[in-house]
């Protein structure tokens, strides 16, 4: 194993870079754009040893670092990664690059602050995925809101103030209740190590309250119906880079929270409440799917479709308990959770790609309304290829990453309950409907006005962004085993924790 603190570097290198940009924003010799790109590239370089030296067969945390931080409360600066964290850290690094590139030209005011905000947020997000101490986790989790608040508020659209305050308050409400639960657990366990929380026995009543508190935090982040209303607002108003990070990473934190905290810490409460979660997931999948169908704003459409897709994630995570009730095999539970996690990663790529596509169009036409486009393919053929690919991936075309996760989740659900699976599967048709209809109205059809004829196709920078994403979408779609191998062991140990009652 390597000796140097890889995870700390992954966290603090981008943060230091961000602070550096802020301080030297006025000097001539440093270009914030290139410096940010350089910092992201350096962070990418750090990801290489992370994946090379990651031991896929070990179920315990790896690359661990533990330093006593606040001994009075027994809080540690404890980091470590497992098969869930590593893909998410890679995804974060990947998406930050996109966010930096997305703002390359379209951000003209406070460039240094824009780049710094994304770099700092990158470090904080790595911290969320790497923290092994509950308070450290909470600290990263909450501080991340601050740069995002500023990103939406400073560089957002017309209604940005409303959107960003709504975003902040919604997420703050959820997470502050989680804080109470974490403190309670910390007192019970005599320390704030998440691993201790997972091992500790806990009465059912306590588990229920803790589960609900966690649920508030994670359901808002995912977001699940009915606490999803901040998402369309935040997405529509955020600049493209902000939307990418929101959709690709922030939403995933909710799913990560369920995996890391809710399921292992309160398995009995999860067992008791899983029907409700599954019901909410189905509402998200079906109802929000139909809501997406009627959107006139492209960003809103993608935002709603994100909610529907994240419904598959929560469905896959919690369907396992139905399988236990039906006394099905462990393999089918595994399938559900792995499917949910593949969906997490895949949706990260696809939603990022779609938001970037909308950003490309918005930079040219300054409109997000579907009605303002049409026949874009005539002027932007290369762009049209990418757009169609991502739209199809979003509707779950086999061969793209969107197919793998949803298919696995549905397969797993099918063994638990035919009707739930049927309902979820049928809505794939709705998904195909709104995606294809979007393509039809934006890319093909009649040009809505003369402005379309002056459009220019994507330049080199945009092409690189979309090419990277297309590669990722196809790679996960064609060879999901790469991702599955990475997390297999972690899923196994999660399943053990999920099935072991903690009462008594």
């Amino acid at each position: 194993m390597i000796e140097w603190p890889l995870l700390s570097l992954l966290i603090w290198l981008p943060i230091t870079g961000g602070i550096f940009i802020l301080f030297f924003s006025k000097s001539e010799w440093i270009n914030p754009r290139w410096f940010a790109l350089f910092t992201v590239a350096a962070t990418w370089a750090l990801c290489v040893p992370l994946i090379l030296f990651f031991d896929r067969d070990a179920s315990n945390m790896q690359f661990t670092e533990t330093v006593s931080w606040i001994p009075t409360f027994n809080i540690h600066y404890a980091l470590g990664v497992d098969g869930f964290s590593v893909p998410l850290i890679l995804l974060t690094a990947f998406c930050t690059l996109l966010a930096v590139l997305a703002g390359w030209k379209s951000i003209q005011k406070h460039v240094a602050q824009y780049m710094a905000a994304f770099l700092i947020m990158m470090g904080l997000m790595h911290g969320v995925f790497a923290a092994r101490d509950a308070i450290l986790f909470y600290m990263f989790w909450e501080s991340m809101l601050v740069p995002m608040f500023l990103i939406i508020g400073i560089w957002g659209g017309d209604n940005r103030v409303y959107a960003t305050i709504k975003f902040f308050l919604y997420t703050f409400l959820g997470s502050i209740l989680m804080l109470v639960a974490l403190i309670y657990l910390g007192i019970q366990a005599g320390g704030f190590s998440i691993e201790d929380f997972q091992k500790m026995p806990l009465g059912l009543t306590a588990q229920l309250f803790i589960f609900i508190a966690f649920f508030m935090a994670f359901a808002v982040k995912v977001p699940m119906w009915p606490v999803h209303t901040w998402l369309p607002d935040a997405h529509v108003e955020a600049p493209t880079g902000g939307s990418v990070i929101l959709a690709a990473i922030m939403l995933k934190m909710g799913a990560y929270g369920f995996l890391r905290l809710s399921l292992p810490i309160a398995p009995d409460a999860s067992l008791l409440l899983n029907k409700w979660i599954i019901a909410l997931s189905l509402i998200a999948i079906v109802y929000i799917g139909f809501v997406s169908l009627v959107q006139r704003d492209m960003k809103k459409l993608i935002a709603y479709s994100s909610i529907a897709h994240m419904g598959f994630v929560t469905l896959g995570l919690f369907v396992g308990y139905l399988l236990i009730a039906e006394q099905r095999s462990v393999e089918s539970m595994q399938l559900g959770i792995e499917g949910a996690f593949v969906q997490v990663i895949s949706h990260g790529f696809i939603s990022a790609a779609l938001f970037l596509c909308v950003g490309v169009l918005y930079d040219r036409m300054h409109s997000r309304l579907i009605g303002d486009y049409g026949a874009v393919v005539d002027r932007m053929p290369i762009f049209a290829v990418f757009f169609v690919l991502f739209a199809l991936a979003n509707s779950g075309l086999p061969g793209t990453s969107g197919f793998v996760g949803e298919f696995m989740v549905i397969l797993s659900t099918l063994q638990a309950n035919f009707w739930i699976a049927a309902l979820a599967a049928i809505t794939l048709i709705v998904g195909a409907a709104y995606n294809l209809w979007l393509v039809k109205r934006v890319i093909f059809g009649q040009a809505s006005h003369g402005g379309i004829s002056s459009l220019e196709d994507i330049d080199f920078r945009e092409c690189v962004m979309l090419l990277l994403l297309a590669g990722a979408v196809l790679f996960v779609g064609l060879y999901p085993a790469a991702l599955l191998n990475l997390m297999h062991t972690s899923v196994d140990s999660l399943l053990q924790q999920m099935m072991q009652s903690k009462i008594g």
Binding site: P71, F73, I135, S143, R160, L177, V180, I183, I187
Partner: protein
């Protein structure tokens, strides 16, 4: 009667030093020479520094009660005094230019600040109900005069008068409570009162009645609901430099009052006074947060925020454990830094003839001075309790001590109110970052360097203590070890 030892002197040497310095400064005032105010300002800062140096060694000494049980020298007093000096020195840096350009830079400003400091020192070292009362009066009288120093401002005069009347009422209640306790126990020094309260069973009710009056008096001083009405008017009406001072150092003294009156004198009645503090705390958090949302004047908003924070602070006190007390002390220290910084920012935005009192006066600060916009943001997020700022750990330690005694429901109530509070702090951040620069910034004059440096350090301290809160937490725990 305890015999007086000459070595006892060292315990109250800081008080003697400050009192002596007050006399010296008053004498210097009589002479007329060039740049007199600068000299007096320097002397005042030197006095505070000297007092700090004299107080520091007491940290390593055993707890002692000297002067016939009037005066306690313990860790609580030492820590509180240290914070009071530091905060006062910072408040004076913020005040210097402010009072100068507004033509009320008189020597009395500095002298009254020092006498207020002396009053606070007497409070935090009070081991006797009357010496506590003496300290309160010394502090309050100095503050009344400080507020009224701006004679040409009717708002300031109104604030001073209001503060005086309400303060007198509060002191009256306190004194009434003290007299009841004296009536049943025939003691005034805290140790004997505590012993009496522990033994007696028949006079418990009478003692309790006294405690009720004392709590009401304390609530006046702290500004918690329902005794809060003076806070917004006084915060708004006072010259901002005075508000910065009132909102910071006296809160530390108020902690001393609460510690001496409740934690030390009546630990046996904890079950009873806990109920009162519970009501005070919850209603303060509720009312402060809700009304703060409607404010457009930043000083008033910060006043309501102060009410809220006092409510949160009382949560730590009402727990009644050593950990709760330490959490409350930590909370006060953190709050004092934040509040001072916030009013420092208000002073930063003001200039000759312009009081930047509206939240709108901060519009677009980020476009002109990103660094100070950043500090304002840090202060606001810290007040809201968002990590990684010290405000978060203040809330965390209070919440932890509440949950430790199985009052989870109270923790949930507290965080819900904290969420409400986040809204109006966010609105300030919004004004600073999202709005276009307003009129106030067109003719903006950068304040002098010392203010900017101290303000920056103030902001950085809030992040620094947010990342590494351990030292300060340990200090608070040792006070109540």
């Amino acid at each position: 009667m305890m015999p007086f030892h000459f070595s006892d002197f060292q315990f109250f040497l800081p008080e003697i030093w400050v009192a002596g310095a007050v006399c010296v400064i008053l004498l210097v005032e009589c002479f007329d020479f060039k740049e007199k105010h600068k000299w007096i300002y320097g002397l005042t800062q030197a006095t505070l520094l000297g007092a700090l140096l004299l107080t520091l060694p007491l940290w390593w000494m055993e707890k002692r009660v000297v002067l016939n049980g009037m005066f306690a020298a313990d860790k609580l007093a030492t820590v509180a005094k240290g914070i009071i000096y530091l905060v006062t020195a910072m408040a004076l840096v913020y005040a210097r230019e402010y009072v100068h350009v507004r033509n009320f830079e008189k020597s009395e400003y500095y002298v009254l600040t020092l006498t207020a400091v002396l009053g606070m020192m007497v409070i935090v070292s009070g081991a006797h109900l009357l010496s506590l009362y003496l300290g309160i009066e010394l502090l309050s009288l100095s503050l009344y005069a400080l507020i009224a120093m701006r004679r040409d401002s009717s708002l300031a005069l109104e604030a001073a008068l209001k503060f005086f009347v309400i303060g007198a009422l509060g002191s009256g209640l306190l004194l009434y409570g003290i007299s009841m306790i004296y009536g049943v126990s025939a003691h005034l020094d805290i140790r004997s009162v505590a012993e009496f309260a522990a033994e007696t069973s028949e006079s418990r009710l009478m003692l309790m009645l006294g405690v009720v009056f004392i709590i009401s008096g304390l609530a006046f001083k702290l500004g918690s609901v329902p005794f809060h009405m003076w806070v917004p008017d006084v915060y708004q009406g006072s010259p901002t430099s005075v508000t910065a001072f009132i909102s910071s150092a006296p809160k530390v003294a108020a902690f001393g009052l609460v510690a001496r009156f409740l934690m030390e004198a009546f630990p046996v009645l904890h079950g009873e006074w806990q109920q009162f503090l519970l009501i005070l705390a919850i209603s303060s958090m509720a009312l402060g947060n809700i009304i703060a949302i409607a404010q457009t004047n930043i000083k008033r908003m910060l006043a309501y925020s102060a009410i809220t924070h006092m409510g949160f602070f009382l949560l730590g006190v009402l727990v009644g454990t050593g950990q709760g007390n330490a959490a409350a002390l930590f909370y006060i220290m953190a709050y004092v830094l934040m509040s001072l910084g916030a009013f420092g920012m208000v002073i930063f935005m003001s200039r000759a003839g312009v009081e930047a009192e509206k939240i709108d006066d901060f519009k677009g600060l980020n476009a002109v001075h990103p660094w100070y916009a950043f500090i304002m943001m840090v202060l606001m997020f810290s007040l809201a309790g968002v990590p990684p700022t010290v405000g978060f750990y203040a809330k965390l330690s209070v919440l932890k001590s509440i949950i430790d005694v199985d009052m989870v429901w109270l923790a949930v109530v507290a965080v819900i109110f904290a969420l409400m509070g986040a809204y109006y702090y966010l609105r300030v951040v919004k004004t600073v970052y999202f709005d276009a620069p307003g009129k106030n910034l067109e003719r903006f004059v950068l304040p002098p360097r010392d203010l900017r440096v101290v303000l920056s350090l103030n902001g950085l301290a809030i992040i620094g203590l947010g990342l590494f809160p351990y030292g300060l937490m340990l200090l608070c725990q040792q006070v109540f070890a």
